[in-house]
């Protein structure tokens, strides 16, 4: 039982699960699930009660029982008490104060990750303002490598997302050229396929592998299909760089995605066996998003942000290259408007980084949400300032396959110019070598000898 006296009223919360849910900044998904605070005052009272909870309590009280959920078991069984020691005596509120203090250096914050549980990260995020989520995340550096180096401080990468509604190869190739010419693609060139047929998937993998090898691009490719399909493709000899999977924070949501921890292990081992990385071997790409557990009816009465943080506990077992929270894709019944999407994007990035993950964000919305590109500009700017590892780059921000809006190649240029963020060093050097950018990383005037331009002419002919 958790109790707090605030504004002349005594509020009680029967469990950590209830306390976390009621302390969450308002969002439609928690109302839909029936777990949100009933009033604005109760919401703040819950934050006050949560601030006084010792971090140690999170090791004693599981929000979903150990016996019922393999994600809880993963969290409990892999907790690193030695890494936890520096903050073991703190309450949630003291942890926030420490994180934002000068004492919490990037080295100290980054070293904490294996000692923190997702619920601790979620808890502290709930009592933080948006600006705290920016500065807190900025201290947690997570660097990963495959063919280039992603996540160095002062750097930001972008996924080139060249989707096409019928997987038309020329259509996809056209978007790839466009993205590369705009200096985009250092996180990954990643296609959401329309088909889940392993033959069609393999064709796309071969096509991207050809482009990457032909132009010697220091980046990696991925077709975002189910892990079991990628395992199939590897068995058939397809050139797989990264293994993709959507994951969630409970066993139930993962099972609704048709995925188990064993599948993820098998996928990772398959990709590792190909030894296709040149500067590192982080070979997994995960996507997540608040609301997936409720959508799968597997939320166990928990709030969607805490469950999202639990998805990162799954991700970190597999040393991913990229973890992407697809924040506004799910729709207004989970995140109603720009304000809720912005908040959720900052929370996810912060919690992921605190837990040691290479967090990126698909800064996005659907057309039935109360949001527009101006809201995305705010989230993009704040995530850029927070040190986000990567964002999406989509032609004109308009994904014609998935029917939602994200960030464009131009948006990536914007945030680089506004905040001075650099691309992955290997990719940056390549862009300069072929003449897309000048020595400062800015787009250069088009040069006739640029092999990508020659390629574009050949495609059109």
């Amino acid at each position: 039982m958790y109790r707090v006296h605030a504004g002349g009223t005594t509020y009680t919360f029967s469990s950590l699960r209830e306390l976390l849910a009621k302390a969450t900044p308002p969002r439609s998904g928690d109302v839909l699930a029936g777990v949100a605070a009933k009033s604005a005052a109760e919401n703040v009272a819950a934050k006050m009660a949560l601030a006084d909870v010792p971090l140690k309590q999170f090791l004693n009280e599981a929000i979903i029982p150990y016996e019922n959920d393999d994600v809880t078991r993963l969290i409990v069984d892999t907790h690193d008490a030695a890494a936890f020691a520096p903050v073991a005596a703190m309450t949630v509120g003291e942890f926030r104060d420490w994180l934002l203090s000068e004492k919490a250096t990037p080295e100290k914050v980054s070293a904490l990750a294996p000692g923190l549980t997702p619920e601790m990260a979620a808890a502290v995020s709930k009592i933080m303002r948006n600006q705290d989520l920016v500065l807190g995340a900025k201290k947690a550096h997570v660097v990963t490598k495959f063919r280039d180096t992603i996540g160095l401080p002062g750097h930001m990468s972008a996924r080139l997302q060249p989707n096409h509604p019928t997987d038309d190869k020329k259509g996809i190739a056209a978007s790839i050229v466009d993205g590369l010419m705009y200096g985009c693609g250092d996180a990954v060139i990643g296609i959401n396929p329309a088909s889940d047929n392993v033959g069609a998937i393999t064709d796309l993998l071969v096509m991207m592998d050809d482009v990457i090898r032909r132009f010697e691009i220091p980046t990696q490719s991925c077709v975002l299909t189910h892990v079991t399909t990628t395992i199939d493709a590897i068995a058939r000899g397809a050139p797989v760089d990264l293994v993709f999977q959507s994951i969630g924070g409970t066993e139930g949501v993962n099972s609704s995605f048709g995925v188990t921890l064993a599948h993820l292990k098998e996928g990772r081992e398959g990709a590792l066996s190909l030894k296709r990385g040149t500067v590192g071997d982080n070979c997994m790409y995960f996507e997540t998003g608040q609301g997936s557990a409720l959508s799968a009816d597997a939320h166990h009465g928990c709030d969607q942000q805490t469950l999202e943080a639990r998805a990162y506990a799954v991700a970190r077992q597999f040393k991913p290259l990229l973890v992407n929270t697809v924040v506004g894709f799910i729709g207004p019944e989970y995140l109603y408007n720009g304000k809720e999407i912005i908040r959720a994007g900052l929370e996810d990035h912060f919690c992921g980084k605190l837990l040691g993950l290479p967090m990126g964000c698909d800064i996005c919305y659907t057309n039935h949400a109360e949001a527009d590109q101006d809201d995305m500009d705010i989230l993009l700017m704040m995530l850029g300032a927070a040190g986000v590892n990567f964002i999406m780059g989509i032609p004109g921000a308009d994904d014609i396959m998935l029917n939602y809006q994200s960030t464009s190649f131009h948006d990536a240029l914007y945030v680089r110019e506004a905040l001075g963020l650099k691309r992955a060093p290997e990719f940056d050097a390549w862009l300069t070598k072929i003449g897309v950018t000048d020595a400062h990383g800015h787009l250069a005037p088009h040069r006739p000898g640029n092999p990508l331009l020659t390629h574009a002419q050949a495609l059109a002919a």
Binding site: A174, S175, D178, Y336, G396, D398, I400, N403, L459, A460
Partner: protein, 258 residues
Amino acid sequence: MAADPWANLKQFTDARIGLGRSGSAMPTHEVLNFALSHAMARDAVTTPIDWTRIENGLADLGLSTMRVASAASDRSEYLRRPNLGRKLSDHSREALMRAAEMEAQRPDLVVLVGDGLSSTAVTANIVPYLTAFLPYAAKSGWKLSPVLLAADARVALGDEAGEILGGKAVLVLIGERPGLSSPDSLGVYLTFAPRVGLKDADRNCISNVRQRGLSYEEGAFKTAWLLREAFKRGLTGVNLKDESQFLIEGQQGPELIG
């Protein structure tokens, strides 16, 4: 403004490539084109349907209609609470029960038109689609319910309506979530033995029916093919694969099946 010399690649994709740039930003006309597309998609979500116009159009096809509503009280609640859009309002439930009592014979097919997430899709496509579909229904001798015109509807609203009217199957025609380049897509959902509690895996879907997408004739053909198979095999959903394209390629009509 700097133009992109590869803009001729636009011939291969509707993606917004080769836009050119003004510094790091999109050129003015591209920013405004995008804003217009978004505005049209937003309007598709928020503009109420002119149901009278739909009623008149369907009357011209010889179809009777009946208006119903979901349990969502307004558009904002509809967007926040999808569960309410899947349930009939008390008033509509009672009205359908009375209608069911008055019918001597159960319908083979309950037809429900829902606004869904795009009123634009329903207004633009419902009459031409049903014009293409009705000849197939007539040939097969299917008895149709009055067309239910449902406000603030989700797909599963058809399960409850179909169950009350005792239909062997329900056909839900509904506005899909609007894309930036396709604010007017109509979705066609077919569910055998409709009843409350069914899941998406129990249905078949034909997506993107619109003037610049899947044609009305093709959409109607696929619907009729799936319906025939559903009645024959007694199911819809993941175990009923749409194989109608083989027939289109072979130039056969669905009336030749089964």
